[in-house]
């Protein structure tokens, strides 16, 4: 893609640090829908939550009873002592049973919701991964890889926590609250009113806090990624920084970015502390009023001490679930923004996909044809290719040359259908590339790009990328063809040597040779070299080309280059300019014609100023 920069990498679709409240119902319903694919598990969570709430709420009653038993005992005197002792024992047994049940059921409910959420996350992860592989180059040109990684990691995790951070606690809380209200109201309505008065106040405060914390957190994250970028660029460009004595300048940048984060962190802290203060104040006010009112009723003989204890215990039991409302709302907001960002990607239809009636490509000969092909990345944007036609017979080579942005790489990317033509058609043995299956087409077409992307794994894994089952001999053969075998043989663990992140350990020319070898391994029927020898010195390139010519003897080959020596031997050469074929013919014809090609040839052959000494070759020469 060197010569045709993708149409303006726009900012990714949804980057503003807010939580879209209107999207909340649909996104959350969709996540819930994913969870409901496991109805058994959902039922189990509901049942255990319900029983845990019941177990939990029997405790206050048991306490109340125990206190009453003790006081009655006090009042009744020694006569009832044995009966009372027995009652106490029963209460104690019930308390142990209730707390144990509460613990076990609570754990079961929490564990199964975690299990369910992880299962949904796994499903989402796999779907996301698979979908990204299907989305066309056009999509990947537009969206930054870092953005996609964030979506697949953080946003997806955000969507997951909805199940175990919102659904389960909300369910547990609602059940607990419903039971508490029922039990309290059915015994002492006035007491219940006082005791529960803090619930709406604290609930609203917690909900607001949870939601706002999320929004502030998004801001913090945004500021944080700006800070990360500043630090990362500083470290990656440390030589530039040192070379220009930019220490002070860089620290200034750091401080600015850092202070922006700090401001929002402080805001977040204040929000949180305030929310918790409101929650605790309202709780304690309720508690004190309840105690005052209840105490007076007990004093007036209208209620037992046991009942008062029971109510006090209800309140303590409710305190921490109410506090969880903040977490619930936070995770709801998080799930909304995260889920929306994950679904946004999942809902994109791959622009390039098999046609409904697509058949595998059948190419006994392998004739590649472009018929009046037009192409543009964006209907409103500029035309990248206009009326391009050519034919490459098996065993023949087509050369394509032209200035940057003339559409050379686009031609290369159209053949394996990484983009679809806007008009005209591309055929292989008469079959339109859009009518055959992508798998068979891409298997048949081998494309070697200029920027060789190598994976962070061994040399062998990289070479076998296109055919992981290739025999060692075939991989070595491909490496020899690409003139890289000798270098690999010198590596510490030869083909098992790890390439290092993005191939930093290899020179540009070596990486290109690796990528050529990788392209050769599967033995494609049509080979396209998109400026894939640019960083290789001329001597090695010629060796590569000669070896390739033997390997691709019977195949149609397309070579795109700006170095004319790379393609002057082609059977036909197209000179492109602004997406049009301006000249075509053999090298000799084009030179004779005296047009742009001849001019370029003159320029390149007269001045070798641009010729490159490949470090590795120089090293071989020097040795």
């Amino acid at each position: 893609m060197s010569d045709s920069p993708p149409p303006a990498r726009g900012a990714s679709p949804s980057e503003s640090p807010t939580v879209d409240v209107t999207a909340m119902p649909s996104v959350l319903a969709r996540i819930a829908g994913l969870a409901l694919r496991y109805p058994g598990r959902v039922a189990l969570i509901t049942a255990t939550s319900l029983l845990a709430a019941v177990a939990s709420l029997t405790l206050p009653r048991l306490f109340g009873r125990a206190v009453d038993q003790a006081t009655h005992l006090l009042a009744g005197g020694a006569a009832q002592a044995d009966a009372a002792r027995a009652a106490l024992l029963v209460s104690a047994g019930l308390v142990i049973a209730a707390t144990s049940a509460r613990g076990l059921l609570g754990m079961a409910s929490a564990y199964h919701s975690e299990y369910l959420s992880q299962k949904v996350a796994r499903d989402l992860r796999i779907a996301f991964f698979q979908h990204l592989q299907m989305l066309s180059f056009g999509f990947h040109d537009r969206v930054h890889s870092g953005d996609l990684i964030t979506r697949g990691m953080l946003d997806l995790e955000g969507a997951r926590t909805f199940i175990q951070g919102t659904m389960q606690p909300a369910l547990a809380l609602l059940l607990l609250l419903a039971f508490a209200v029922w039990m309290m109201v059915s015994t002492e309505p006035a007491m219940a009113l006082i005791g529960l008065a803090f619930v709406p106040v604290a609930g609203v405060a917690m909900a607001r806090m949870g939601f706002r914390l999320r929004v502030t957190w998004l801001r913090v994250q945004q500021m944080m990624s700006a800070l990360t970028l500043t630090m990362e660029e500083n470290l990656q460009g440390i030589r530039v920084v040192r070379a220009f004595a930019g220490r002070g300048f860089e620290l200034g940048k750091f401080d600015a970015a850092s202070n922006a984060v700090l401001t929002f962190q402080y805001k977040r802290i204040t929000l949180r502390a305030r929310g918790v203060a409101v929650m605790q104040s309202s709780f304690h006010v309720s508690l004190i009023v309840l105690l005052w009112y209840g105490g007076r009723r007990v004093l007036a003989g209208q209620m037992t001490v046991g009942r008062l204890t029971e109510f006090l215990t209800y309140m303590t039991l409710l305190q921490s679930p109410i506090r969880q409302i903040a977490i619930i709302f936070n995770s709801m907001a998080r799930a909304t923004s995260g889920g929306a960002r994950v679904f946004e990607v999942l809902d994109l239809e791959p622009q390039i996909a098999d046609a409904p009636n697509a058949r595998p490509l059948v190419a006994p000969k392998g004739v590649l044809r472009f018929e009046h092909v037009d192409f543009h990345y964006d209907p409103r944007g500029r035309q990248v290719l206009s009326d391009v036609s050519f034919e490459v017979m098996p065993g023949r080579t087509l050369g394509i040359v032209g200035p940057p942005g003339s559409g050379k790489s686009t031609i290369a990317n159209l053949i394996p259908r990484f983009y679809d033509v806007s008009a005209g058609r591309i055929t292989i043995d008469g079959q339109d590339v859009r009518a055959v299956t992508l798998a068979s087409l891409r298997e048949y077409v081998g494309l070697v790009q200029q920027e060789a992307f190598l994976f962070d794994t061994s040399v062998g894994h990289n070479l076998a990328y296109g055919d992981p089952w290739a025999e060692d001999a075939r991989i070595e053969g491909a490496a020899r063809t690409a003139q890289i075998h000798d270098h690999i043989a010198q590596l510490p663990r030869t083909y098992e040597t790890r390439v290092g992140e993005r191939g930093v350990a290899l020179s540009g020319g070596q990486r290109q040779r690796m990528s050529i070898a990788r392209g050769v391994v599967p033995g494609p029927g049509v080979m396209i070299f998109d400026d894939s020898t640019a960083a290789i010195d001329a001597v090695t390139e010629r060796k590569v080309r000669e070896a390739l010519a033997r390997a691709t003897e019977t195949k149609a080959t397309v070579i795109i280059a700006h170095r004319l020596s790379s393609l002057m031997h082609a059977d036909e050469i197209l000179m492109l300019d602004e997406g049009r074929v301006v000249e075509r013919g053999t090298h000799a014809e084009l030179v004779a014609r005296g047009g742009t090609y001849a001019e370029l040839y003159e320029l390149q052959s007269r001045s070798d100023a641009g010729a490159v000494l490949d470090e590795a070759v120089v090293a071989e020469a020097g040795a």
Partner: protein, 622 residues
Amino acid sequence: MSGAAPERQDRRGRKPRASLGTPEGDDIFGAFDTGIIRRFFRYVGPHRRIFVGAQVAAVASAAAQVSIPLLIGRAVGAVVKHDVARFQASLVGLALAAAAYVAAFYLAEWLTQRLAQRVIFDIRRAMFAHFQDVSLSFMDKTHVGRIMARLQGDVNSLQDFLESTTGTVGDIVVLIGIAVVLLGLDVRLGLLTLAMLPVLVAIRAVWLPYSKAAFRKARDASSTANSALAENINGVRTVQETRREQLNFELYAEKAQENFRAQVGAAWMSGIMTPTVDFLTGLAMAIVIIVGGNAVLAGRLEVGVMVAFVLYVQRFFDPVRMLSMQYTIMQRAMAGGYRIFEVLDVPVAIKDKPDAVALEDFEPTVEFRNVTFGYDPARPILHDISFKVNPREVVALVGPTGSGKTSIIALAHRFYEVDQGAVLVGGIDVRDVTLDSLGRRIAMVLQEPFLFTGTIEENIRYNTLSAARQDIVAAAQAVSAHDFIMRLPDGYDTRLGQRGRNISVGQRQLISFARALVADPQILILDEATANIDSFTEQAVQKALKVLFAGRTCMVIAHRLGTIRDADRIIVLQQGRILEQGGHDQLMRAGGLYHHLYTSAHASFDDQVVAQTGDAEFATRT
């Protein structure tokens, strides 16, 4: 995809040569180390008063928290005894305690968390500043991703620790307070209920290693799955080109499943504590009911006290759980802290001498005097190198990989310190001048142009803040970058994407030239790019180089024949020694290594021409 599947089946017999994703290796739990704690607190030092304030507030809030159930118990006790006055007094006390609790809690949280953030930023800044000073050999050896992990992950692991400091103090106070109150209320009942605590502590001690192992496994699994995802996204074009979708999908599905299992395993481990605590709570409550009830019966205990016990029992497991969690947090902070201080302890090898002078008004020369240097002193890269670059002379350095060219230009800029000999700029040893003035006099253009996120204008200006817009434009015009910049959507205000991906390699290079030109150094050091760029941009680059070289002292690591030929002098290096030097013609006549290199890079093109066109005359013409 469907087409590829059956074929795979046939070859199932063998394992595919394929993998996806790698986990990160750092250990996440560290042992307690007072040295690290002490060093953390050195960063707290400047904010001592806030720290002390926060701790006082935490103690106050804990004390108030402990007193609340006690006061409730007293109120209930008063009710039972029909003591209205005591009841009302208890209520007033309760209101005061609650108010004090809320206020102190708010203050403690607010102060601690702000302080934690402040300290984290101070530490991060110290690290960042340190990275600006440590030697480049350290930076070369250390992967940027790893440094970032320290600046982000390790620093953030401190956040939890620092934010939990007041929590720790508070929890300890609460625990002691509850114990004191319970024992004070009733020794026998107190001892019996408190007996649950050591049981819980013992259970947690057994449980913790398993829990940590499960946690660690979950973390590894998730980082493996994430790195697999990242790898596939970054290489998605290659994946599609090579039809690896199906195989990668299968590999990833395995990772996702492993991650699922590990996460669920961790959830099981952390979940198991809930029923344990609940059971112990139930046991303690049962003790209160039986023993307390009997004591009430025997007249030895007030009902109010029993109520207080019930309320306390419900809360005294919390601080134990919290303290145990904080212990884990602390261990993670230890691991993080260890790595942070490891960074901060990397010695700064290159710094200004106390009496360093600023480099001003000097003759722009660079001289190497018997320089011996190696990144590892035992294995020198340069052996006894001596040469001098005269004012406004252009010297090209040529030689095979590992011949020491890069080390020479790095030494000229004092990126490293020589082992023997001296490097002189303007006749002064570089070790005697300030680094800042050296950087401002010598500009360096790197092989791989590095662009920062920001506009084109900001990139050209970089830290020459005095440069106005017209200076930027003039520099761009001088290096033939103006035309392409003006064709960009927003001209000089066009924002560059990640590392300038939206412009071509050649164009990036021109911008880095303009950056050097704006800095207007007397001495220019240039490491020419090896990447082959198209002939059209190539011409612009060659023209721009002439502009850059004009009137400056230049040292160039040259890769292009044109650049080499244009140099006033060529120094040919091999294995850290100067093999030959002189002008192009002189060296060609000498027929040494330079001749060999030059002809091998040069002749190939003409061979082609001859082979293709039979134009022997053409070959001789050049």
